[in-house]
């Protein structure tokens, strides 16, 4: 059996199953690239990991085994989903209290539902602070926008993901080229607004809720 070059751990921060998560699917491209270069991989779904003490123990053991960690998550109200935060809090506490014989490299991939990748910026700062608190080596963060829509940006994103593979495999910092490749919105904002609004109406219609889209169920009673 050939020995692997290292172990990369994918921390899937979306509450959705890994295969349905847009951020995890993009991270999977990086994992595939690393596997081609001889890396082994593991995946942990963070919402599941914080659901029980046993699952959390498995998460912490996986973190300790990893040579590189990729957190892939959607942006939820300018930050991470609550269970993902809880998992990161546990990891940081574990690494603060435990013996640190290994410092894994850490990369984040954030996917926001707005067209501008820059809306992930505050969350990337939070993740950089997490990396420091957890004694992980911050390699860099990749911010993607547009939810699942990449109408005009697929090639650029693929290139950016390839650069992450290189950064992890060759133990270098993430190239500034990644920012250049990903900072531009995948489509003009006016198009995203028009297309997105049509999509919401269509989705509501499929559920028979089109007429109630603007409902105000919690409107304050008039005094």
């Amino acid at each position: 059996m050939t020995e692997s070059k290292g172990c990369v751990l994918l921390l899937a921060g979306s509450p959705k199953p890994v295969e349905e998560s847009g951020s995890a699917v993009r991270a999977r491209t990086v994992i595939d690239g690393l596997e081609e270069r001889g890396w082994a991989s593991e995946t942990v779904h963070l919402q599941t990991a914080v659901a029980s003490d046993a699952n959390t123990a498995e998460l912490l053991a996986a973190v300790d085994r990893a040579d590189a960690i990729i957190l892939a998550a959607p942006l939820y109200v300018d930050s991470l989903p609550a269970p993902t935060l809880r998992a990161l809090e546990r990891i940081a506490a574990h690494r603060r209290d435990g013996a640190l014989d290994q410092s894994a490299r850490f990369v984040s991939i954030l996917l926001c539902g707005f067209v501008e990748p820059s809306q992930n910026a505050t969350c990337q700062l939070i993740l950089e602070r997490f990396a420091e608190r957890a004694h992980l080596e911050w390699v860099g963060g990749v911010s993607l926008g547009g939810g699942g829509a990449e109408a005009f940006g697929k090639r650029r994103i693929r290139q950016a993901l390839r650069l992450i593979v290189e950064a992890i495999d060759e133990e270098i910092l993430l190239s500034f080229s990644v920012d250049e490749l990903t900072e531009k919105p995948a489509m003009p904002s006016w198009l995203y607004v028009v297309g997105g609004n049509a999509m919401w109406k269509k989705a509501a219609k499929q559920h028979g809720a089109e007429e109630r889209l603007r409902a105000k169920p919690y409107e304050r009673p008039i005094a």
Partner: protein, 191 residues
């Protein structure tokens, strides 16, 4: 009619305490004539947001999960001021506060519009609550304090808060400093 303030307290017993800040904020707001409702989130079971968008396209305005998260969202809509009170975790909110904040998205519409050069969601309700963020750090950390203040401002844009302010203090700060900071932040938005 007295205005309503909701304090979403994201502290928990085994972490950085929020009780002193909560008492200071509550006393100040009551003195100014506000009705104050405190939600101690660690004691409220709220399921995490699943990111299914059901609250936008299946049951518009209400989360598909029938639990206390709905009640928190309703109370936030029926507020004039919302206070996010939380230990600062990596510059952001505690998971306890965040589990409630994530469940507030039914309170905005799915539709997009451009606001100051960025795409954001459209308001669902004509009126939105003002927002104050109060963060508590276990030790002095300017970088995390700055991230926290940015996060509160970003949330205010996304949740359409008509006024926003935030403050961060350390558990080691003296009482006078803590009182001054909290009262200042609240006074900036309730004036």
């Amino acid at each position: 009619m007295a205005k309503v303030a909701r304090i979403l307290d994201g502290g928990r017993d085994d972490g950085v305490s929020t009780s002193r800040a909560r008492e200071i904020a509550e006393a100040y707001l009551r003195e100014k004539g506000w009705n104050v409702d405190v939600l101690r989130l660690a004691e409220i079971k709220i399921a995490p947001c699943m990111g299914c968008f059901g609250c936008w396209v299946k049951t518009p305005g209400e989360c598909v999960i029938d639990d206390a998260g709905r009640d928190v969202a309703r109370r936030v809509v029926q507020s004039d001021l919302v206070v996010y009170l939380t230990p600062v975790l990596f510059g952001g909110y505690s998971p306890e506060l965040k589990k409630a904040v994530d469940r507030l998205i039914p309170n905005i519409l799915p539709f997009f519009r451009r606001v100051k050069g960025e795409v954001h969601h459209v308001k669902r309700y004509a009126r939105s609550a003002r927002l104050v963020g109060i963060g508590i750090l276990p030790d002095r950390n300017e970088e995390e304090a700055e991230i926290f203040e940015t996060l509160v401002r970003r949330n205010a844009i996304n949740m359409h808060a008509p006024a926003v302010e935030s403050t961060v203090f350390c558990t080691t700060d003296i009482e006078e400093t803590v009182v001054r900071r909290i009262e200042w932040a609240l006074s900036e938005v309730i004036a």
